[in-house]
């Protein structure tokens, strides 16, 4: 027992990720934390997407289950688990059952290397970004298998569209990623593929890569931001599941639990690609304005933001508690909302404790940036009409791919000539 406690404590003094330290206990804890956090994030996204889309379309959205529909995702989950699991006639049972599992596995496995902080990742791999791209590209296999095994026309067409789309946009995505990997090698001479290493390179160079070699970094970020929406089959690139044409695309024949696995995988894949974008271009866990607003005072001010954010959410809860209808039937809901506000407020207060503040600050900034991307996803869905398939292919192959190639050459050139040009300028001026 004593040895076990020592084993647990031995990691606390280390400044490495649990995977790199080889501490199995903390690896398990981190995996469970990531898995749980991800599931909560997917549930929250489900509610937020419906609410935000509704407000964009001047509707109320879910209002019945819980205050402001807060419990709607849980009701949906229970409904999905209770539904009958249907296997279509003459479907390929084995492949039909395996498909959703492959999609979920691929979507969750990538989170092993996502760096929520300099030590807050399950592990740090030397091939981090390559691993993320590789494993997330496996999810297309699940989509194709699901479409084919359903033995039905709509899913098959959906699967064909999806595989064509995902394979096309992976190319542009890869080129944008390579330009960032070139940038990581600038100061030290050796680049890195490790997700933590990429953020540390941005820290060392004193700039997020989205601002590097303006506007080259920004163009790379743009290419990735478009390609990642196409990779995750979301609007306006949601042709594989275009409701008006294909009912529900590749998962038309799925129901109940298996359908909910596809749902889970779609949202966690969205979070995964967003965290790639955040890590590569937006400085990962680094706080904003490190150069402009530096010094101890600003550090303190920024470290208070996580707690203040939670307090702000708590205040919104209390504000809406006051505004709840004063009818006896709403009594339970009012108490529930107030209780939710108290929980959020307590979390906010806990985050103000200096020891906790130092540990969770980086997780907060990373999650906040990812949350920004999640909002963008919903915003796209609310505003952009769906592309036609030939337009989709044209954007992928004729616009993004040449842009990516040119970007790669220009980034390499800029990195190569940066030092000589600076030297020459310092002599001339």
């Amino acid at each position: 027992m004593h040895a076990f406690i020592d084993y647990i404590q031995s990691y606390l003094s280390s400044d490495k990720t649990p995977g790199a330290d080889g501490n199995i206990f903390w690896v398990t804890v981190y995996i469970l934390l990531v898995f749980g956090g991800l599931s909560v994030a997917v549930i929250a996204m489900n509610w937020l997407e419906r609410k935000i889309l509704a407000h964009m379309q001047v509707r109320l959205g879910p209002m019945r289950v819980g205050p402001h529909g807060l419990l709607q995702p849980i009701a949906d989950a229970i409904k999905l688990l209770l539904k009958e699991d249907i296997l279509p006639a003459e479907a390929d049972a084995l492949v039909f059952w395996m498909a959703p599992m492959i999609v979920v596995l691929a979507a969750f496995t990538v989170f092993i290397v996502v760096p929520f902080g300099p030590t807050h990742a399950v592990t740090d791999m030397n091939i981090g970004i390559l691993f993320m791209l590789g494993v997330s590209s496996l999810s297309v296999l699940g989509v194709v298998m699901a479409g084919w095994a359903s033995n039905s026309h709509y899913p098959l067409i959906g699967a064909l569209r999806s595989s064509a789309q995902m394979v096309s946009y992976e190319v542009a995505m890869g080129l944008a990623v390579v330009s960032v990997i070139l940038m990581t090698s600038l100061q030290t001479g050796t680049g890195t593929l490790s997700m933590i290493g990429i953020v540390q390179a941005q820290q060392a160079q004193g700039t997020w890569f989205v601002f590097k070699f303006f506007p080259l970094g920004l163009i790379g970020f743009f290419i990735f931001a478009v390609a990642m929406v196409a990779e995750t089959n979301r609007a306006p690139f949601d042709l594989p599941e275009a409701e008006s044409e294909l009912t529900a695309g590749f998962h038309t024949e799925y129901s109940g639990f298996r359908w909910s696995l596809f749902f889970l995988a779609e949202y966690s894949a969205m979070i995964a690609v967003s965290s790639i974008a955040v890590t590569l271009w937006l400085g990962g866990w680094l706080r904003p304005f490190p150069n402009l607003l530096h010094g101890a005072t600003w550090d303190l001010a920024f470290s208070l933001i996580p707690g203040l954010t939670f307090l702000f959410f708590a205040a919104i809860c209390f504000f809406n508690t006051v505004r709840m209808p004063k009818h006896p039937l709403f009594k339970v809901q009012t108490i529930g909302l107030a209780g939710f506000g108290v929980v959020l407020g307590l979390i906010g207060l806990a985050v103000f404790i200096p020891m906790v503040r130092d540990r969770v600050g980086d997780i907060f900034w990373f999650s906040a940036k990812v949350a920004g991307f999640m909002y963008l996803y919903i915003w796209y869905r609310g505003t952009f009409p769906r592309y036609r398939f030939d337009q989709l292919m044209k954007v992928g192959w004729k616009i993004l791919l040449p842009m990516g190639l040119a970007l790669l050459v220009l980034t390499a050139g800029a990195g190569f000539f940066e030092a000589p040009v600076k030297e020459w300028l310092s002599k001339v001026l």
């Binding site: 080889g22 390559l130 064909l160």
Partner: protein, 176 residues
């Protein structure tokens, strides 16, 4: 971190690869064959990991399992599976197949056991690169001015792929 249970994982991955490989050629349904091939390729990526080559393993997953096999499935799904299921196999070449497999296996064993000038072709300890700098080591093997020795073969291989791409375009487009 030092690896754990190395023999167990080696035999597990090797067995997965062999079963996958056998299933590729024995399944009548082409989609099942493709899925078995994906299993074999993923197990192979695991073997690369065991050989301290994470970069090669990553590239294996991203290119073969994620890229090429998706295109395979894409093409297979366009064929009518029902007809191929009923069709009799017409490539019955057991004898030639066995001879070729035996020859290849014999070649492997011969290479493994041959000694030239008293030294085996395969040294006892294999050359390992550190896990934390694997990608950088591969890059310097390819491109470094002093230690890079595989640049030429690398470029030749990419030229071969370029020829294949051009060939595909020429064959599919009547008028360019």
């Amino acid at each position: 971190m030092t690896p754990v249970a190395t023999p167990f994982f080696f035999y597990l991955l090797a067995a997965t690869m062999l079963v996958g490989g056998v299933m590729v050629i024995t399944r009548k349904n082409a989609v099942h064959s493709a899925l078995a091939l994906i299993t074999a390729l993923l197990a192979q990526a695991g073997l690369y990991l065991m050989l301290y080559a994470p970069f090669v393993a990553g590239v294996q997953i991203i290119l073969y399992a994620g890229g090429i096999m998706v295109l395979f499935l894409f093409v297979i799904m366009l064929i009518s599976i029902e007809r191929t299921m009923k069709e009799r196999q017409f490539n019955k070449q057991w004898l030639i197949g066995m001879v070729a497999a035996a020859a290849l296996g014999g070649l492997f064993i011969a290479v493994y056991t041959t000694t030239t000038k008293g030294a085996a072709l395969f040294p006892e300890g294999r050359l390992t690169y550190g896990e934390s700098t694997n990608t950088q080591d591969i890059a310097s093997l390819l491109f470094d001015r002093s230690t890079g020795m595989y640049m030429f073969s690398f470029e030749i291989a990419s030229l071969l792929l370029l020829v294949a791409i051009i060939g595909a375009v020429v064959m599919s487009k009547k008028r360019i």
